[in-house]
């Protein structure tokens, strides 16, 4: 029913199509932007064409032009799609897993233990996410793996809180009581009886957060804390553009392609998740349908 409603809403339809497009680009990256022979073993390294620093406008060989350092923009965007999905999926998966384990255990045990865990979650949530990520990457050093660690450390709390609320409700249901009376061990009650009935809202919430995770990751790359130079990453491509805002005296928009293409890639990626998420929220929220 939900799927049918999603397909009927034009906005979420656009979102689904965009997402499908990005998935296709990520899967077929080696065919869309073939890796040059020279570094065939490291396809995530964006190839450079020529010496010097100045960007070059789009041409037949380089359909989106070359950015600062003569990196090929088209190649960076195509392979950057894979980077975006990697970061998004790993962070979502790990933080969801940690959140579900901690949140559901905490709610199932309840009492003082639950109280302590939730205060802990509060402290984590009360801190500006981006600044916390900056602190962690400064201490651990630069790199995409460090960005992922930083994002996971500060992302699991939301899921923990969400599933905790659901488990607290379901815990009182009769079938759980029945299982307990029947002598089923706690671990089994939690995994077999409680989680299947509480996990879905969390998974939906988590998948809707993919967009914002990718934005934060590319923000860190933009600030120079993410991927090493030359790794296919949208945020880094945009940070290259910063030095070419002014253009040339006779053409102020001379280097438009350094901002527009990678910017468009991020915007459309996030937009696709947000369109689907927004439609989901309206379908799920009965209060607005009055």
């Amino acid at each position: 029913m939900v799927v049918k409603k999603l397909l009927r809403n034009p906005l979420s339809m656009i979102g689904l199509l965009l997402l499908l497009g990005f998935i296709l680009v990520a899967v077929f990256a080696p065919w869309i932007a073939p890796t040059p022979e020279v570094h065939a073993n490291d396809p995530y390294r964006v190839p450079r064409y020529g010496w010097g620093n100045t960007p070059e406008p789009p041409s037949s060989e380089h359909p989106m032009g070359l950015t600062q350092g003569k990196y090929d923009i088209f190649y960076g965007i195509v392979w950057g799609t894979r980077t975006a999905f990697q970061v998004g999926l790993i962070v979502t998966g790990l933080s969801c897993l940690i959140g579900i384990v901690i949140g559901s255990t905490s709610a199932y045990i309840g009492g003082k233990f639950d109280e302590v865990v939730m205060r802990f979650v509060d402290v984590f949530m009360s801190f500006p996410f981006l600044i916390a990520a900056i602190v962690i990457t400064t201490i651990l050093g630069r790199g995409l793996d460090k960005v992922i660690i930083a994002l996971v450390i500060f992302r699991w709390t939301g899921y923990a809180r969400l599933i905790r609320g659901n488990v607290l409700q379901v815990k009182q249901e009769e079938y759980v009581m029945a299982a307990r009376a029947g002598g089923v061990v706690h671990r089994k009650i939690l995994i077999r009886h409680i989680l299947p009935n509480t996990i879905f809202p969390v998974l939906i919430q988590a998948s809707m957060n993919m967009g914002s995770i990718v934005v934060t990751a590319s923000t860190l790359s933009f600030l120079g804390l993410g991927a090493p130079e030359g790794h296919a990453d949208w945020g880094q491509m945009i940070s290259f553009a910063r030095n070419w805002i002014l253009g040339t005296p006779d053409n102020p928009m001379a280097y438009w392609y350094t901002v527009v293409w990678p910017g468009l890639a991020i915007v459309l990626f996030v937009l696709s998740w947000n369109l689907i998420g927004d439609a989901f929220r309206d379908i799920m929220d009965p209060r607005i349908q009055g």
């Binding site: 801190f127 981006l130 600044i131 916390a132 923000t219 438009w256 996030v270 607005i288």
Partner: protein
Amino acid sequence: MITYIARRLLFLPVVLIGVTLMIFVAMSFLTPYQLVSTYIKSPEELKNQSLDDLVRKYGLDQPVHVRYINWMRNLLRGDLGYSASANMPVAEAIARRFPATVELALFAIVPVILGGIWLGTISAKHYNRPLDHFSRVFAIVGWSLPDFVFGLILLMVFYGVLGWFPPGRLSMWADSIVLTGDFTRFTGLNTLDALLNGRPDIFWDSVRHLIAPVMTLAYLWWAYLLRITRSSMLEVMNKDYVRTARAKGLTERVVMNRHVRRNALIPVATVSGSMVLGLLGGVVIVETVFDYKGIGLLTATGAQQLDYTLVLGTTLFYGLLLVLINLVVDVLYAVIDPRVRLE
């Protein structure tokens, strides 16, 4: 009301200890030798003593609880260490850069809140009509456009092409006047100081530098506030007391402004805490994009050079700021919604 505020104030030290503990845990990933720089007051100290001496002097070889107490004592004295990237003590760097960020935040906060609520009201009034669809699309697109991309586009158009809103805090000519002895720095806020010194030209120059960063901060939060105001207004519009108000024959304007919007603003007040969180993070990005020399740019450049002394110091400062702002938000919240006080 007073007991409510007193209770919140009593809670303050608890939160502060939580924040400092978190940063202290982060610091424990660094070796004692690396941590020395977060304790020293000037680079001179490094010249005369060996690192081992300094580790011993600041008690970095002591057990955890002793180190934490030592470190807290240092913090309370305002010693945050010496920053290599800023070339001055961290506390001094923060004190110098903070007014710029305050100025930016003050200019941003009013348009952000008023604009967002206004857009949300319009959207709810025209529920499911073209204007509503239009503003929802605006909100979704706005929410999807990362601030650094939007900022760069603004910079390209309004600086590169039109030349209206340059980056930085002041133009060169204005900067040289501000730095001379004739110009008194009362507050460190360029706009206010310019007015107090009777220099409308400098006032105008600093406003010109503020417009683009404020626009970047504003559009994202407009999108967010629009969404929240809209859905909470729609919820309230279905309530019985609104129907009663209409049945009494009140005009649509009075019903909307008095009965609907007032109640719909409560969820908006609830999210203002998380808005403050977001604005603090947003300031780092916006200041980096526009080369606006505030505390956010200080943090970002420090982080790029892996200057953990500086980053830890500014983060502590952010933490303190956050706790204080949240306190104010909580009190305001209790003023708006009397039910909160009774809890």
